[in-house]
C-alpha cells in the first residue's frame, strides 16, 4: 500500500506473514554535489551514534538491545547522479517478541532523525571529532582490500575528470578537514528539509498503525525534483591505461567498458543476460576460459552498472600472465559480440538470473531494496522471467557490440 505523507515524502507498506522479522528503510535522496557527498557520509555516522535522549553510543545500544537486538543504523549509497542516505531498521516481529515492539522501533527512528545530538546549531563536538577520525580511518583501511582497491582505481580512471562519480559515495579524505560541527548541521537540515524521502516498511504489520505513526514525523512538503538520474559521459577515443606496482602475492587486472544501457531501458534485460554469458556467472566465458581452462585466476568476472554505464571486468592473476589474461579477456568479449555461445548456455544463464531473482524474494531486505529502486526510478519490476526469456542471441550480440573499452588498470604484485 502506498501512502503520501506530504509532497516529496512517500510511505510504502508491504504487509506479509512470510517473515519473522520486519524491515524499515527510510531513504533520503538528493542530487549529489562536490560538497555534499563526504558531508552526508559523516552525518550518517553521527545520526547512528547518539541522540538527545540517548546521548552516548552505549545508551543507544542499550535501547536497541532491549528491543530484542533490533538493528538500527545508517549507511550511504548512490543511484547514478543521486546521493542516498539511508536509515534502516531490522527487528523481530511483535509476535515473537512483545506487543508494541514495532512502534517502539519506529519511535527510536523518529528520535534519531529529528533529535540528533545538536545544541546551539552544532553537533556535539567530541562526538563529531571522534566520528570524523573514525571515518578517516575507515576510508584509509579500504586500501587494504586489494580487490576493492583495484575496483576503486578503475573507477577513478574511467570517470571523466569533472565527474562527481570519481568521489566514492562514502566520501573522500581531502574533504574531511573542511567539515565542522556547524557545517554538518546545515547538511543535516538540508537533508531533512529538502531531500526526496521514501519510507518502506515490510513485515507482519498493522498498516493503519504504521501510517498513523509515520504521520507524526515532522516532515514538511518539499519540491524534490532532480535532473536525470542516469549518469552519462563522452567516449574517449583511446582507452586510458594505468599500472601500479605494490608488494603483493596476487596481481589484479581490471578493465572498464562503457555500456550505455540503463535501468529498465529496452535492452536492459538483454544486458543482464549478456553479462551472465560474459562474466556474471560460473557458466560464463570468463569463468570457464580464464579460470577453469587456462587456470590463470581464482576469480574472473564482470558486472554492469545500469545507473552509470560502467561495465567492469575484474581478475586476480599471476603477474607473469598479465598479457595472456588481457588477450583472453578481449577474446571472450569478441566471442560474445560474434554470438559464439550455445543456445543451451543462453537458456542456462536466463534460468540462473530468474532463479536468483525469485530467490531474492525470500530475503526481506532485498524486497525492500527492490521496492525502493522501483520508487526512485518510477518503474515497476514485473514479468522479469518473461522479459528475460524473450532475450535472443541477436539481442545479446547487439548489446555486447556496444561495449567500448575505456580504461585498463593493472595492479602489479611483484612478489608473485
Amino acid at each position: 500500500m502506498d501512502f503520501k505523507l506530504t509532497d516529496g515524502v512517500d510511505l510504502h507498506i508491504i504487509s506479509t506473514p512470510q517473515f519473522k522479522t520486519n524491515q524499515i528503510l527510510i531513504n533520503f535522496s538528493t542530487q549529489q554535489s562536490e560538497k555534499n557527498i563526504t558531508a552526508r557520509s559523516l552525518v550518517a555516522d553521527l545520526l547512528e551514534t547518539s541522540t538527545h535522549k540517548y546521548p552516548t553510543q552505549t545508551a543507544l545500544a542499550r535501547q536497541t538491545s532491549s528491543l530484542f537486538g533490533a538493528y538500527v543504523g545508517t549507511n550511504v549509497g548512490r543511484y547514478g547522479n543521486l546521493h542516498a542516505l539511508r536509515v534502516r531498521a531490522s527487528f523481530v516481529n511483535d509476535q515473537y517478541a512483545v506487543p508494541g515492539l514495532t512502534e517502539q522501533v519506529i519511535s527510536l527512528l523518529h528520535e534519531m532523525i529529528f533529535q540528533p545530538l545538536i545544541d546551539n546549531n552544532a553537533f556535539d563536538e567530541p562526538t563529531f571529532n571522534l566520528q570524523r577520525n573514525n571515518l578517516r580511518s575507515s576510508i584509509q583501511a579500504l586500501d587494504e582490500d586489494k580487490q576493492f582497491y583495484a575496483a576503486m582505481k578503475l573507477r577513478e580512471i574511467y570517470f571523466a575528470d569533472n565527474s562527481l562519480l570519481k568521489i566514492p559515495s562514502f566520501g573522500r579524505l581531502s574533504d574531511l578537514d573542511e567539515l565542522t560541527p556547524e557545517s554538518l548541521v546545515e547538511t543535516y537540515r538540508a537533508m531533512v528539509t529538502n531531500d526526496r524521502i521514501n519510507i518502506i516498511v515490510l513485515g507482519n504489520v498493522d498498516e493503519k498503525r504504521i501510517v498513523e505513526q509515520f504521520k507524526q514525523f515532522e516532515f514538511q512538503p518539499r519540491e524534490a525534483q532532480f535532473g536525470s538520474l542516469f549518469y552519462q559521459q563522452e567516449l574517449v577515443a583511446t582507452p586510458k591505461v594505468q599500472t601500479e606496482t605494490q608488494v603483493l602475492n596476487q596481481s589484479k587486472l581490471n578493465l572498464a567498458y562503457q555500456l550505455p544501457i540503463y535501468y529498465q531501458d529496452a535492452d536492459y534485460y538483454a544486458s543482464l543476460v549478456m553479462n551472465g554469458i560474459l562474466g556474471g556467472s560460473p557458466l560464463s566465458k570468463l569463468f570457464v576460459n580464464v579460470r577453469e581452462k587456462a587456470s590463470l585466476a581464482y576469480y574472473a568476472n564482470s558486472q554492469p552498472n545500469a545507473f552509470n554505464g560502467l561495465f567492469s571486468i575484474q581478475t586476480g592473476i599471476q603477474s607473469d600472465s598479465q598479457k595472456q589474461a588481457q588477450r583472453l579477456i578481449k577474446e571472450q568479449v569478441t566471442a560474445v559480440i560474434e554470438g559464439e555461445f550455445t543456445a543451451e548456455l543462453l537458456q542456462e544463464v536466463k534460468d540462473g538470473i530468474i532463479n536468483q531473482y525469485e530467490t531474492s524474494l525470500d530475503v526481506s531486505s532485498n524486497i525492500v531494496e527492490q521496492v525502493l529502486l522501483d520508487k526512485i526510478t518510477n518503474t515497476k519490476t514485473n514479468d522479469l522471467a518473461k522479459k528475460i526469456n524473450q532475450v535472443t542471441t541477436a539481442d545479446v550480440m547487439r548489446v555486447a557490440a556496444q561495449l567500448k573499452l575505456q580504461a585498463t588498470y593493472y595492479l602489479n604484485g611483484d612478489l608473485n
Binding site: K20, V92, S137, A141, V247, L283, S295, L296, T359, G413
Partner: protein
C-alpha cells in the same frame, strides 16, 4: 521419519537416518520460493592424519587436501557438476572449514533433480593427474589472494600463536608448496575414508514437502551401493593439552595504514560434547557480550579514548576438539588495546558483577538475533553442527538459550579464561 514441532517458533523439523547411515533433516518453509540444501561431510582441514579405510597404519596427507577435494569433486570425466546445476537453473557452491566440507545448492525449480545432482556428484569421485595439476593454478591464486588480505593474516597469525604445533594454524587451503604435493591418490584415499554416507548429513530448508523430499533422497540412495560403513579413524591429538605451547606474542610487518591487533583466548578445558557443549557455547557467547558488546561500559570507555573504533569485533569459535575466542581492532594504540582486553578478561568475575543489570537485556538481544536467522534458509541449515552438539539445530539453540543463567557465567569464565591460553598477534605498518 521423526517430527519435531517447535510451537513458539512456529517451525517443524523432520529427520531420518537412512539405511546407509546418511542423516537427513528437512525444514519446510511455506511461502518461500527457494529451497536450500547442504550436504556436509565430517572432514576438514585439520583431519590430515588418519587410518585409511581398509588399512591399519595411519598416514599424513599434504595440507589443504580437504579443500582441494572440495574443488575437484565438481569435475567429472565428461562433465562438470556446476554445469548440471546450471542446466537446472540452480546456484551451487561449496566450502571447507577446519572440521567440515559442505556442498550446497539453492533452487526455485527442479528441486528433485537438483537434489539428485548434489548427491550424485558428491558420491561419485573422479580424479585424474591432468585435472589435479590444473587445479593447482586456481587454488594457488586463491591462496595468494588471501595472503594479501591483512585481516586474514591477522586471524591465521593468531591461530599460529594459539596452536603453533597443531593443524589449526595452517590455512584451510594449505600452501602453494603443500598443494603441489597433492596427487589423485591422496584424493581417492581421503574420499574413500571420509565420504561415507554415515559420515555425512543433508539439511534441506525451503519450499518442499518433507515426506516427498525424504522419499526422493531415499530412492536416490537405495539405487547406489555403498561399502559397509566404517567410522573414520582420525589421529588427532593436541601437541600440548595444557596450552603450554601457546606463543604469547608475535608481530608481523605488512603494508597497512594502522596497526591491527588481535587478542586470542584458547580454551584449555575439555568441553563435553552433545547438548552440554551447546550450552557451553551459548554461555561463553553471553559472557563475551556482557563484557564487550556495545552496551557495556568497557566498550564506551575504550571507544571514547580511541583504543577501539568501529572496526572492533570479537567472536567465539567452537569446533570438534578445540575452541577459542578472539578480539580485534585497528588501532593506533595496539599495546593499550591488548592490555585492556586481557585485563577485562582476567577480571571477568568482577566484570560480570558490574554488568549484571545488563544480563537480561543482552540475553533478549541474542534471542532476537537468533530468531531473525530463522528467516534465512541458509542460516538455519548452515547452523546445524551435526555430531558436535548431538544433532541439535538452530531451533534447539534458541530453546536452550532461555536456560542460561547469569550464575552459569561465573563458572564458565573461570573454566574458559586461563592465563596460559591468552595470546596477542599484531600487524604493524611496514617501515619504509
Amino acid at each position: 521419519m521423526n517430527e519435531h514441532h517447535y510451537q513458539q517458533l512456529n517451525e517443524t523439523i523432520y529427520s531420518q537416518q537412512l539405511e546407509n547411515g546418511l542423516w537427513v533433516q528437512v525444514l519446510p518453509k511455506m511461502g518461500f520460493h527457494k529451497t536450500y540444501a547442504i550436504l556436509t561431510v565430517d572432514f576438514g582441514s585439520i583431519d590430515r592424519s588418519f587410518i585409511p579405510i581398509g588399512k591399519d597404519e595411519p598416514i599424513t596427507v599434504p595440507d589443504g587436501v580437504a579443500h582441494f577435494l572440495e574443488h575437484k569433486m565438481f569435475e567429472k570425466e565428461d562433465h562438470d557438476a556446476f554445469d548440471l546445476f546450471g542446466q537446472l537453473g540452480a546456484d551451487s557452491n561449496a566450502f571447507t572449514s577446519f572440521t567440515q566440507t559442505s556442498y550446497l545448492f539453492s533452487a526455485t525449480e527442479h528441486v528433485h533433480e537438483s537434489l539428485d545432482v548434489l548427491l550424485d556428484f558428491v558420491q561419485s569421485p573422479y580424479f585424474s593427474a591432468k585435472t589435479v595439476e590444473k587445479e593447482k593454478g586456481i587454488i594457488g591464486q586463491e591462496i595468494k589472494m588471501y595472503d594479501d588480505d591483512p585481516n586474514w593474516r591477522l586471524y591465521f597469525g593468531l591461530l599460529g600463536n594459539l596452536y603453533p604445533e597443531d593443524p589449526m594454524h595452517i590455512d584451510i587451503a594449505g600452501s602453494v608448496d603443500s598443494i603441489a604435493k597433492i596427487t589423485p591418490q591422496d584424493l581417492y584415499t581421503t574420499y574413500n575414508t571420509f565420504y561415507q554416507p554415515s559420515n555425512m548429513n543433508l539439511f534441506i530448508v525451503g519450499n518442499v514437502d518433507a515426506q516427498q523430499t525424504l522419499d526422493w533422497i531415499d530412492k536416490n540412495q537405495a539405487a547406489k551401493s555403498f561399502d559397509q560403513s566404517t567410522e573414520p579413524q582420525v589421529e588427532f591429538e593436541l601437541n600440548d593439552e595444557t596450552g603450554g605451547d601457546v606463543i604469547p606474542f608475535r608481530t608481523l610487518e605488512m603494508d597497512v595504514n594502522r596497526p591491527k591487533v588481535m587478542v586470542g583466548v584458547r580454551g584449555i578445558n575439555v568441553v563435553q560434547s552433545g547438548k552440554a557443549g551447546l550450552q557451553y557455547r551459548l554461555a561463553v557467547e553471553l559472557l563475551l557480550d556482557i563484557l564487550f558488546d556495545d552496551t557495556s561500559d568497557n566498550y564506551l570507555r575504550l571507544y571514547n579514548n580511541e583504543t577501539i573504533d568501529d572496526s572492533f569485533s570479537y567472536n567465539f569459535e567452537m569446533q570438534r576438539s578445540f575452541h577459542f575466542a578472539y578480539f580485534s581492532s585497528d588501532t593506533d594504540q595496539p599495546e593499550r588495546f591488548s592490555d585492556e582486553i586481557i585485563s577485562i578478561l582476567e577480571g571477568a568475575t568482577q566484570q560480570i558483577d558490574a554488568a549484571a543489570s545488563q544480563f537480561e537485556n543482552i540475553k533478549r538481544a541474542m534471542l532476537g538475533r537468533m530468531i531473525s536467522l530463522l528467516d534465512s534458509p541458509e542460516a538455519i541449515a548452515n547452523h546445524y553442527s551435526g555430531k558436535l552438539f548431538g544433532g541439535t539445530n538452530l531451533l534447539d539453540e534458541i530453546t536452550s538459550l532461555a536456560a542460561v543463567e547469569i550464575d552459569d557465567l561465573y563458572k564458565i569464565a573461570t573454566d574458559f579464561i586461563q592465563s596460559q591460553g591468552i595470546s596477542v598477534y599484531q600487524i604493524v605498518p611496514k617501515r619504509n
